[in-house]
């Protein structure tokens, strides 16, 4: 039993504990409506974080997810222009964009050996600039009606966005844990030299990981677009730091090879509950950022302490 408990990521206890605490402070948190709302919103961050965890698993980081989300939102709405018939084209263009960005990030990191932080930070700036230039500062277009269903609709009362998120996140978790490519990602992140000696194509794995990360950010961007229904310049910026926070709170280590897509679901839920609670408790945005920063530090320390304890026993 104790062993089983030890294998469950601590994030789930944190999510439950925090949700209950929040409920005690403000009972509104415990209503079904609010819980479903949390799920619906968590999906937006959750998808982006599912990509981010892959970048951290290979020992990198992707700060361009914010720019990818923004650009996806802008491009998707401008192609759809409210027409259902344009949905496939919009999705295809955005996915292509994501693949391109990810491949470029991966190329810089894997082949040119540029620090991932610098590569993706610069890429984020380029993508945000591209969105600005593309729109000329004034957004146009809107999401197609049918497209909004996935972000705003529900099936049997459960928000569709949450269903989509969980399906994708679990699929990624299976890919990471149960396919060769997924194992390569873990191996390259933990020790790329050893991985190369074991016949793992390190560069291909890195590039693939960054592509996957960007594609997840595109999916996140599409879901966000569907949820808000409109273009919104800079909508992605809030997901940049938040996605890293969700992943780190979910136990991924910046050193690579440690973390899981399933625990990241917990991380995204935790961050969303936190925001939702601070909103209900009328805490200022400023305080939210402070709490978020403190939380990142705290979780790095807690997970490290847990890892060291496991090593001794």
């Amino acid at each position: 039993m104790a062993q089983l408990l030890a294998r469950i990521s601590p994030i789930w206890f944190a999510v439950i504990l925090f949700y209950v605490l929040a409920g005690i402070v403000s009972p509104a948190m415990l209503s079904t409506g609010q819980a479903l709302n949390v799920l619906q919103v968590a999906a937006l961050l959750g998808l982006v974080a599912t990509g981010q965890v892959i970048a951290l698993l290979v020992g990198g980081i992707d700060l361009s997810v914010g720019g990818v989300v923004t650009l996806t939102n802008i491009v998707a709405t401008s192609i759809m222009l409210g027409q259902d018939s344009s949905i496939p084209l919009a999705i295809a263009v955005c996915l292509l964009l994501g693949i391109l960005v990810g491949a470029l990030n991966g190329f810089m990191v894997a082949v040119l050996k540029v620090a991932p932080l610098i590569t993706t930070l610069a890429m984020n700036s380029i993508l945000f600039g591209a969105a600005l230039v593309y729109t000329g500062g004034a957004t146009r277009g809107t999401a197609a009606p049918a497209f909004k269903i996935i972000g705003q609709g529900a099936v049997l009362g459960i928000p569709l966005s949450a269903v989509a998120w969980l399906a994708v996140a679990i699929a990624v978790a299976v890919i990471l844990r149960r396919t060769i490519f997924g194992r390569w990602i873990y191996a390259v992140g933990a020790n790329s030299e050893a991985a190369a000696l074991m016949g793992v194509p390190v560069k291909r794995t890195l590039i693939g990981a960054y592509v996957m990360c960007s594609v997840m950010a595109v999916l996140g961007g599409l879901l966000i677009t569907s949820y808000i229904g409109n273009p919104s310049l800079g909508i992605g910026e809030q997901f940049l730091l938040n996605s890293v926070a969700a992943v780190v709170v979910g136990g991924a280590a910046l050193t690579g090879g440690v973390g899981s897509a399933v625990a990241t679901i917990g991380g995204a839920l935790f961050m969303t509950v936190l925001v939702s609670f601070t909103n209900i408790a009328r805490v200022s945005t400023g305080t939210q950022y402070i709490v978020q920063g403190a939380l990142i530090i705290l979780s790095v320390m807690v997970y490290r302490a847990l890892a060291e304890k496991r090593r001794i026993t």
Partner: protein, 836 residues
């Protein structure tokens, strides 16, 4: 013998020193005594604990238990600095020098002559003096990265001598030297001995020891076997002491008969590493590759495994193969088990199961997914076969002892059916019982029909396990001997070319002649400023083009505007440079600038000098606080700087938002006047920043500060060993960066005239852009203040030029990002041909 007398005779005494690494006892209560003015050799095989013992003496490691006395007084060797202050100096086998600093700088790192500025003349004179004493000719201004291994060794010895040590430790100083160099080294050692210095000389080469030692202490498996006078011992006795219980290790019986040839190598060559090596390997056979370390035996197996190019022909079971990557080698059934398991063999955060299955994933897949049952079976089989002691296959390899970790590394290849196994030091750092297990396993693999290459630096292991031994010297196979007939003397003799005379090997150096470095003239200033010069040209070009397109560019109004734009960026970039030189990064600079504008917008609202002073003081304090906070996260809590400053980014941004949720407030006129003061047409702030950049550059180029920053950034380990307080240096850099950002925040507040929680956000990227465009390496150790200033100017100039050319401001995000990518990518491309 009376005890008191014994104590007084010993200059240095180590009592019952113990040290463990992750469950493996490296030192099991070693006592070791040295007299004043003797050359005391510490002898033992690889892994006997010699280096660990000496690292404790040098203050690099702390012992788990035991006492150390020097001159009869008990001492605490808490840091390299503490050891140096007590007169202990150590010369490391794998030199601990800073590659990006030159010879003179390395020799004096940590105690350079001069004050704030290094007295370069005095330093060169003193270095030259020592080098002359060592009879060595090395250009003082040459970077250590351009030196040969032997030259580095000399530099390291010179460095040890600068502190005029009373106890000098030489850790296998001869491994990279040729005969003449060894003779010279020995002359130096004798000279030092005549000066009354105590010299501890680590080696495992008997001829050298007989040439130089007064007394010899033998270490074996972390214990001191005994101490003997050179005049009262011979090689046979020392070998017996070294080998000791090893003789009782029961090696598995050798192969009775071997099968067909599995691997045939013809004329394998890789220039500078190995030459025309031809050999065959039969099924069922274990062939040892022996010789002094670094004579090509390790290089050749790595090349066979596809890790580096080679010419020549390789046949596997008669079929010609070309293995250009580990992936192909493994596919063809050739596997390589590296000696350094932590660096090349294990995935520390992962479970035993995942460690074992990685190379076999393909065979575990059904319908695209890895079958859990197949994988578990594979893990169970390997664990059972190698008797890995673990509660479960799911346990992390990090929780295992060294011996069990090694079993996982070996057990990984149980599955699949490799045809050729290459083992490199398969029992490094494991206990005796595990060694026996591993020997049996390796023999078992051969018996099942595989061909095995064993590269072992432990001669007893090589002899005990091999059916045949090929001996390498200077990249060539110089001798072959059957395992049953091999002796340590024969192998060492062949490897060193020494004659076997009366049981004692004559004193011949095991020279590996390394190509000496190309003798091009040193142009340190050119090397340092070439990229800055190019950048300056680019700046001029940009200015000329802009002036042509827009006449307004050359007006003084625009020039002032430009200076005002560049000044805050240059400040932040100089701060960021200090951090990046150390291989770190500070993402919190942007929000910090925003926070400062918010602070100023509350404090500097009254038209009084006091309010301005208050605003400045408060801002600088806030900056310092953020810098210290970052340093605490990184140094104390050991959070990686990226995530630490990302967290403080969030926190500082939160503080800024709390103070000023939206832009607002109005700063006083006296504040504006103060920060926008002009000297003639020139903004004072811009002048001051220019002066600051120049001072920073001088300190980097000629100051002690520069040596500390470059040293710590280029090689933290070397800097620590040199006695630098690397933690303090990092703390200083983060504080400096934050204070610079605070100053920039004050300027921004003056420019926008109010507080704005978003005002500084762009600076996080642009400051990094300026630094990397200015030629600094994000991996630390390289960069200049002049380059950074030019980087900031280029960024500011481009912004200004595009504005004047009526290009929408939206493009600035694109080119700022693109410029950064181009800069770092071009560094990467420049770097790659040099380092390969």
């Amino acid at each position: 013998m009376p005890k008191a007398e014994d104590m007084s005779a010993d200059e240095l005494a180590l009592h019952k020193i113990e040290k463990s690494f992750g469950g493996v006892k490296a030192l099991k209560g070693v006592s070791f005594f040295c007299r004043k003015g003797e050359v005391h050799c510490l002898l033992g095989e690889n892994g006997a604990g010699k280096s660990t013992l000496m690292r404790i003496l040098a203050g690099v490691m702390r012992p788990d238990a035991g006492r150390i006395t020097i001159g009869g007084r008990e001492v605490e060797l808490t840091s390299p600095r503490a050891a140096q202050d007590l007169g202990i100096a150590m010369v490391y086998q794998d030199t601990r020098l800073v590659p990006d600093l030159d010879v003179a700088q390395n020799v004096w790192l940590g105690h350079e002559p001069g004050g704030v500025l290094v007295d370069r003349n005095q330093m060169e004179r003193a270095t030259q003096e020592i080098l002359t004493r060592l009879d060595a000719v090395i250009p003082l201004a040459r970077k250590v990265s351009d030196l040969s291994v032997a030259e580095r060794q000399i530099v390291e010895i010179a460095r040890a001598l600068t502190r005029d040590p009373s106890i000098l430790i030489l850790d296998e100083p001869t491994s990279a030297l040729d005969m003449a160099e060894i003779d010279r080294l020995f002359a130096i050692v004798r000279g030092l001995k005549d000066q009354g210095k105590t010299i501890i000389f680590i080696s495992h080469r008997l001829p050298e020891i007989f040439a130089i030692a007064d007394r010899i202490t033998v270490l074996k498996d972390g214990e001191a076997v005994g101490t003997v006078e050179r005049s009262q011992t011979d090689a046979a006795q020392l070998v017996r002491m070294m080998v000791g219980r090893e003789m009782t290790v029961a090696y598995p019986p050798r192969a009775a008969k071997t099968g067909p040839v599995r691997l045939e190598a013809r004329q394998l060559t890789s220039p500078g590493r190995f030459h025309e090596a031809s050999f065959t390997l039969s099924a069922g056979e274990i062939v040892g590759f022996g010789g002094i370390q670094g004579n090509g035996q390790a290089d050749i197996v790595r090349a066979i495994f596809g890790l580096s190019p080679l010419s020549g022909e390789l046949r596997l079971d008669g079929e010609k193969v070309e293995l250009t990557s580990p992936r192909e080698a493994i596919a063809k059934g050739v596997v390589y088990i590296p000696g350094d398991r932590h660096r090349e063999g294990l995935f520390m955060p992962h479970s035993i199961r995942e460690n074992l299955s990685l190379p076999h994933l393909k065979s575990l897949v059904t319908a695209g997914f890895i079958s859990a049952s197949k994988e578990n079976r594979l893990a169970r089989d390997a664990i059972a076969r190698y008797a890995v002691k673990t509660p479960s296959a799911e346990a992390g390899v990090a929780t295992l002892s060294g011996g069990n970790q090694q079993k996982v590394v070996l057990g990984r290849w149980t599955a699949g059916t490799p045809r050729v196994y290459i083992f490199e030091d398969p029992t490094r750092g494991v206990d005796v019982a595990t060694k026996l297990d591993i020997y049996r396993q390796i023999r078992g693999l051969a018996e099942e029909g595989a061909a095995v290459i064993l590269v072992a630096s432990d001669l007893m292991e090589l002899i005990g396990l091999s059916d045949r031994i090929l001996i390498f010297s200077q990249g060539r196979i110089v001798d072959e001997v059957a395992g049953a007939e091999a002796t340590e003397e024969r192998i060492v003799g062949s490897a060193t070319g020494a004659a076997h005379v009366g049981g004692v090997l004559t004193s011949h150096g095991a020279g590996v002649a390394r190509a000496s470095t190309a003798s091009r003239p040193e142009r340190p200033l050119f090397d340092r400023y070439a990229s800055s010069f190019a950048l300056a040209l680019l700046t001029v070009l940009l200015a000329v083009v802009t002036a042509f397109v827009s006449p307004y560019f050359l007006t003084s109004a625009n020039a002032v505007n430009l200076a005002n734009q560049i000044t805050p960026l240059a400040l932040v970039a100089l701060g960021q440079l200090a951090v990046i030189l150390l291989g770190g990064i500070d993402l919190s600079v942007g929000p910090l600038i925003s926070l400062i504008t918010a602070v100023v917008s509350f404090v500097a609202i009254q038209d009084s000098g006091l309010a301005v002073a208050e605003a400045i003081a408060l801002s600088l304090m806030a900056g310092l606080a953020v810098g210290l906070f970052n340093a605490i996260l990184i140094l104390w809590l050991r959070i990686p700087d990226l995530i630490a400053t990302l967290a403080s980014y969030s926190i500082v941004f939160g503080l800024a938002l709390t103070l000023r949720p939206s832009p607002g407030g109005m700063v006083s006129d006296s504040y504006l006047d103060f920060f926008e003061a002009h000297l003639g047409p020139v903004p004072v702030a811009a002048l001051l920043v220019l002066v600051l950049a120049i001072i920073f550059e001088i300190l980097l180029l000629r100051g002690r500060l520069g040596q500390r920053l470059y040293g710590t950034g280029s090689s933290p380990e070397a800097a620590r060993v040199a006695g630098l307080a690397t933690g303090l240096i990092r703390l200083g850099a983060y504080s400096f960066c934050a204070v610079m950002s605070a100053l920039a925040g004050l300027l921004i507040a003056a420019r926008i005239g109010s507080g704005d929680p978003q005002a500084g956000m762009a600076f996080t990227l642009t400051s990094i852009t300026a630094v990397v465009v200015g030629g600094a390496s994000v991996f630390g150790g390289r960069g200049t203040a002049v380059g950074t200033l030019l980087g900031a100017i280029v960024v500011g100039l481009m912004q200004n030029a595009l504005n004047l050319m009526q290009v929408t401001a939206y493009y600035q995000y694109i080119w700022a990002g693109a410029l950064t990518l181009i800069a770092v990518a071009s560094h990467a491309l420049q770097r790659s041909p040099h380092k390969k």
